[in-house]
């Protein structure tokens, strides 16, 4: 294995990364879902990366990082780009939880967890969303009440990716309901195997279960698990959310390949095999899918260029999210259009019908997960175009008096 030297140049570093990937290619690729196997693959990959001193490039050396520059990170991203980097199950921990601990955590928290996260020894999840607090995260109701030096947590979280394989979670809970909603929240590190934590997979309309519900039933959390200050958890949560899309450690590759996954080619092939490629009306739909997909590729390649060049990406990220959801829905509808009545009923060995009905069922969730279109458009309107926010009605009201959640149907 190529070892780093004290006076390694950026070019030398890049060559070392390339060499490492070439040597360790058996550790990468081929893993696409979040099953337990995927976690094991991710842990092994991350451990090897850590041992090669290629994990946590810009993190301080005292917490297991390499203390290198952003230029090194960009060089790494460039060298890694040809590979599928199988770290998806670790990204919430490395990309969101770790930066939060670095910025807001105590010295003890950083020393206890960061290096272990960086080695893949600890997998983390994020526990913010609740049934009553979706788009409005700060409206959460999970309570943490003092019990001597400890805290006792009761409540329910939802849409927690990876809760079932995580060792720790970053929890946001309400510690003071008598102040406005943003002012009474505290962030905690919680042990996902502590007594009283119950994890239930959440079945989606596709039949799959990528997310979980997490129930806290009088879960004891030690006093030193507070991240940042008591009642100042919203500031810590903003740190977490701001890091949501920043790629840390081994990340950076794969975005372009994940977006726009060849829907047009698949649809054209479907239309050729099942008939319809000669239908002028269907050809219009197919061409529209091609256009949408091409534009998404162009957008994500522009995002990658920006990231590579160290520029903050423009609005293309939010645009790509919205356009991606639109493409997924559009492609699925065209798929059903090609299948016709064969998309309403099919024999169990009909892989085409399975694929496109699953796509149709997955499309609404695609649009909702990671920010509803409404929230994304608010962001574009307010942060990019500079349009004013709505008048807030919940800023100065004690949380106790605020109506949150609900929803009957």
């Amino acid at each position: 294995m190529v070892q780093p030297s004290a006076d390694e140049s950026l070019d030398g570093f890049r060559a070392r990364v390339r060499a490492w990937f070439a040597e360790n290619v058996q550790l990468t690729g081929g893993v696409k879902d979040e099953s337990f196997d995927a976690v094991d693959v991710a842990r092994r990959f991350q451990a090897a990366l850590f041992d090669a001193r290629l994990a946590g490039l810009t993190w301080p050396a005292e917490y297991g990082g390499q203390g290198l520059t952003t230029a090194h990170q960009l060089a790494f991203n460039e060298a890694a780009e040809p590979y599928v980097v199988p770290t998806m199950p670790l990204l919430i921990g490395l990309g969101m939880c770790a930066p939060t601990l670095l910025e807001k955590g105590t010295q003890e928290q950083r020393e206890e967890h960061l290096a272990r996260m960086l080695r893949g020894d600890e997998v983390w999840c994020q526990l913010f969303s609740e049934p009553g607090a979706g788009s409005d995260v700060a409206g959460l109701r999970t309570r943490a009440v003092r019990d001597g030096d400890d805290w006792v947590v009761t409540g329910q979280k939802v849409w927690t990716s990876g809760a079932h394989y995580s060792d720790y979670g970053l929890l946001l809970a309400r510690t003071n309901p008598d102040v406005p909603k943003h002012l009474g929240l505290t962030m905690f590190v919680v042990d996902m195997r502590a007594p009283g934590v119950t994890i239930r997979p959440l079945r989606q309309i596709t039949g799959g279960s990528g997310f979980n519900e997490v129930f806290f039933d009088d879960v004891h959390v030690p006093g030193d698990a507070v991240v940042g200050e008591v009642d100042r958890g919203w500031q810590a949560a903003v740190t977490t959310l701001m890091n949501e899309r920043v790629s840390i450690g081994a990340g950076g590759g794969g975005l372009g390949r994940r977006l726009g996954g060849g829907e047009f080619a698949a649809l054209a092939d479907l239309a050729r095999r099942r008939g319809g490629l000669a239908d002028p009306v269907l050809r219009q739909s197919l061409a529209s899918v091609f256009v949408e997909e091409r534009l998404l590729e162009l957008l994500s390649s522009r995002i990658r260029e920006d990231v590579r060049a160290g520029r903050t990406p423009g609005p293309q990220g939010s645009v790509a999210k919205l356009a991606g959801a639109q493409l997924a829905r559009h492609a699925a509808e065209v798929g059903l259009e090609v299948l016709g009545s064969g998309g309403a009923a099919w024999e169990s060995d009909d892989a085409d019908a399975e694929r496109w009905t699953q796509a149709l069922l997955g499309a609404p969730g695609n649009a909702i997960a990671g920010g509803t279109p409404e929230i994304m458009k608010n962001i574009l309107g307010e942060r990019v175009l500079g349009l004013p926010r709505e008048p807030a009605v919940d800023r100065d009201v004690p949380f106790r008096e605020l109506r949150v959640g609900g929803g009957r149907s």
Partner: protein, 360 residues
Amino acid sequence: MSAPTVAGDLRASVRGYLESAAPEAEVRRIAETPSGSDPAVWARLADLGLTGLGVPEDFGGAGAGFAELGVVLEELGRSLLPAPFFSTAVLGVQALLLSGDAAAQAEYLPQVAEGRLRVAVGTVGASTVAAVPGSRGWLLDGLADGVLDGATADLVLVFAAADDGPALFAVPADAAGLSRTPLRTLDLTRRQARVELHATPAVLVGSAGDGGRVAAALLDRALAALAAEQVGGAQRVLEMAVEYARTRYQFGRSIGSFQAVKHRCADMLIDVERARVAADAALAAVDTSAADLPVAARVAGTFCGEAYFAAAASNIQVHGGIGFTWEHPAHLYYRRAKSSQLLFGSPGEHREELMRQLGH
């Protein structure tokens, strides 16, 4: 008794029954049974006079028209109760009536009215069945795909190509050489089957060569009936979305007070109101034997199908994450809406046929 009162009474009684006897949990229970239906429910629908609603009084039915059938279909569209109403009481009864075959009518329709006979119809588009005269009657070969409730019906009616042209045939469930394969379905609350026939003895219904006319007229009626069901489903998801938007609070406000959600609901309302007049016009065109029934049926077919699917998708969107869970009923309507759009031709096919019907 004036028409609105009849329709109003019928609606109240059907909705009352469905709300008490077929809440969501019961709908899910029946949908998950192996057959996807419950004979006791069918018997109860017969007791209520619904299985024979469209059966002429001479054959023991209520002799109601499509205005009344539409009311029931709308309520079933709201409820999603899995029951072979559309297949038996609409397609089956109408196919028999359109065939003009008095003997077949006399044999089957009273049993339908009594709830003793469930009928499935292989619609002509998805069928490749050939009929040949055998020594003791007709023999059928081929397959009819996507037959609604085809696996559980007591009698299957299929269109088959004979020497004199297409004709309608009746095949009892226990006929030799008949095999029926339940299909996987997008819609969890309505089953479909592939029906295969191998030298299967069958009885001609109506006249030889008359099947094309029957099939075309049946398609018009099927579209009108389906439109009513779609309106019921669309109205239900609109109500569901509005109720959630009214009572779900985020950022200290009911989410329905945000224009994005409010206008989405308004768009659903606009579609539902238009779907309703489209469906009503198609139903009325059947009842008045209007010359432009094929046009009215396709206006309803294309618009109601698209409006329902758009509304069902919007309903999930308004609900956010919870709308995307298996436990929430939103997806049952989303599935039904897309599936319905594909049953008797796609919206695009309806538009093309509309142009032909308009002489262009």
